[in-house]
């Protein structure tokens, strides 16, 4: 017989905690779109340009990390039975520091303002440290699927390393003597993309792909190998940079790229074997993101333009996959919390709507269309850098990003309003 003690719904954080993260995120994507619109002539010429660095951090921290933090607070309690200690307090502190830190750092990068850069580094250091400690404590208590938990622990380590190398680079930019600064920048980038984002995609994918798309489970060889391979490659690359061998350090990342490529192929194969033939918007986002992992891996191997790679990874996967997940997570959480309230209040006379009502898929598909157009425009702009039409494409892509973010924000607002309306009926 199994242990049927069960998980209490009381363990879940108040819905306002994850929703606050989710609802602020599109503002940062829209802000990144505004920079693209304003500086379309320079932003994709070089990834080292001030607007490119600002856009990168607005998307990576303001959108992607924001959504991931909110989702982790929720997932740890419900999926792993490990509530984050003092979740409301830690959630507010993390979000305040993340929002202010991202804005000040991005403005510092955009305007080359030393004081803003310092303030941004300080705020992000404090906020993310609070997040890492609280989530780390929860992860030590977690039970459940070991491969998912391992990938989440590695992802958290990836976030710590990203932050540490980010602060090292910041110190270098502010004038400290850091030998071989370019190598540390590459490490900051590698840990962010492969360690934090890549590992979290793997860990979350192991859980949500079989669950939400009713597919067979991921094969054992992949769940055993993928996350440790990514971690080993990152550690090898870091050691080589430390030893001053930057050229070899880049190639040490190859096993990590291959592991993520294998994860993408297996995900696509599993999703072809799904039980339910219906194609919803979340599935479209998974398909596009897995395709983009393969495309960007090929581009990396062929030594393609870093700016195009940045567009595919950040605007394509970094904005796309969290958006697709939000179309499932937000209606699910709304329904889940309302169901809990209904049973607690014993108000069975109030009929709860089905999950799809909170975020209708028709509008979500229009949002995906806007996102896809934005991605095509920005990728074309990345390939056309320096050409007269490159700036127009980048500006049109920026407008597309603002439109996609606005549609997402509007759907989120509808979902939350529906939650509040029914919540009031339940008393």
């Amino acid at each position: 017989m199994l242990n049927t003690a069960g998980l209490s719904l009381d363990q879940a954080p108040p819905i306002q905690v994850p929703f606050a993260f989710f609802r602020v995120a599109p503002l940062f994507a829209a802000l990144a779109g505004a920079v693209l619109l304003w500086d379309g002539d320079v932003v994709l010429i070089s990834r080292w340009s001030a607007p490119a660095l600002a856009v990168t951090h607005l998307l990576a921290l303001g959108f992607l990390t924001q959504v991931m933090c909110g989702a982790l607070f929720q997932m740890l309690s419900v999926l792993a039975g490990a509530p984050v200690p003092r979740v409301v307090w830690v959630g507010r502190l993390t979000q305040l520091a993340l929002v202010l830190g991202c804005l000040t750092l991005s403005w510092g990068l955009y305007s080359n303002g030393r004081a803003w850069l310092m303030l941004g580094g300080l705020l992000l250091g404090l906020g993310l440290a609070a997040f890492v400690v609280a989530v780390g404590v929860a992860l030590t208590r977690a039970r459940g699927v070991p491969q998912t938990l391992r990938a989440m622990r590695f992802a958290l380590a990836g976030l710590v390393m990203t932050l540490v190398f980010g602060l090292v680079v910041l110190a270098g930019v502010l004038g400290a003597r850091i030998p071989g600064l370019a190598g540390w920048v590459d490490l900051h980038l590698s840990w962010a993309l492969l360690g934090w984002v890549g590992m979290l995609i793997i860990g979350v994918g192991y859980q949500v792909v079989p669950m939400f798309h009713v597919t067979p489970a991921y094969p054992r060889w992949l769940t055993r190998l993928a996350a440790p391979l990514v971690l080993a490659a990152l550690l090898a690359s870091t050691t080589l940079v430390g030893l001053g061998n930057v050229g070899l350090a880049v190639w040490a990342l190859l096993p990590a790229i291959l592991a993520l490529g294998a994860f993408a192929v297996v995900t696509l194969v599993l999703q072809r074997r799904r039980e339910r033939p219906r194609v919803d918007t979340t599935l479209l986002y998974w398909w596009s993101s897995m395709g983009l992992i393969l495309l960007s891996s090929a581009l990396w191997l062929l030594d393609g333009r870093g700016e195009v790679l940045g567009v595919l990874l950040l605007a394509g996967i970094g904005v796309g996959l969290p958006t697709g997940m939000l179309f499932k997570i937000m209606p699910f959480l709304s329904w889940f919390h309302l169901q809990h309230r209904q049973v607690t209040a014993r108000r069975f006379d109030v009929r709860l709507p089905h999950m799809q009502v909170f975020m209708p898929d028709g509008v979500a598909q229009a949002q995906f269309g806007t996102f896809a157009a934005m991605l095509v425009l920005l990728t074309a702009a990345g390939f056309s850098a320096g050409q007269p039409w490159g700036a127009y494409l980048a500006r049109a892509g920026g407008a597309g990003l603002i439109a996609a973010a606005s549609l997402l924000a509007w759907m989120q607002w509808r979902c939350y309003r529906a939650y509040l309306d029914i919540s009031r009926q339940l008393g």
Binding site: M1, L2, T4, A5, G6, L7, S8, L9, D10, V78, G81, M211, F212, H213, V214, A217, E275, R276, F332, W335, F336, Q339, H340, V343, T344, F348, H354, M355
Partner: protein, 86 residues
């Protein structure tokens, strides 16, 4: 009366939970509900407890069999040992 069997293995969340709650609402409290699920439905247990139901889960991997009953009408040893009707 034969117990009701609900197979929710091919449904995406939260449909299994929705269907179980709908089925319980439609059934007299003297009846039993068997649920066939592909994972252990932890969120369901807390709701059952609050609604005054008891349950027993058996299974592993992709097949879990859950017997649900109203707390005031617990199953006999014989009912428990018979297992889920095929």
């Amino acid at each position: 009366m034969a117990p009701r069997v609900l197979d929710v293995r091919r449904l995406a969340p939260p449909e299994p939970l929705e269907q179980v709650l709908d089925a319980l609402a439609d059934m007299p409290r003297t009846e039993r509900l068997w649920v066939l699920h592909r994972r252990e439905p932890f969120p369901l247990y807390d709701l059952l407890k609050r609604m005054g139901y008891g349950w027993r889960t058996e299974g592993a991997d992709e097949r879990f069999e859950i017997l649900i009953w109203a707390s005031e009408h617990p199953p006999t040893e014989d009912e428990l040992s018979r297992g889920m009707p095929c």
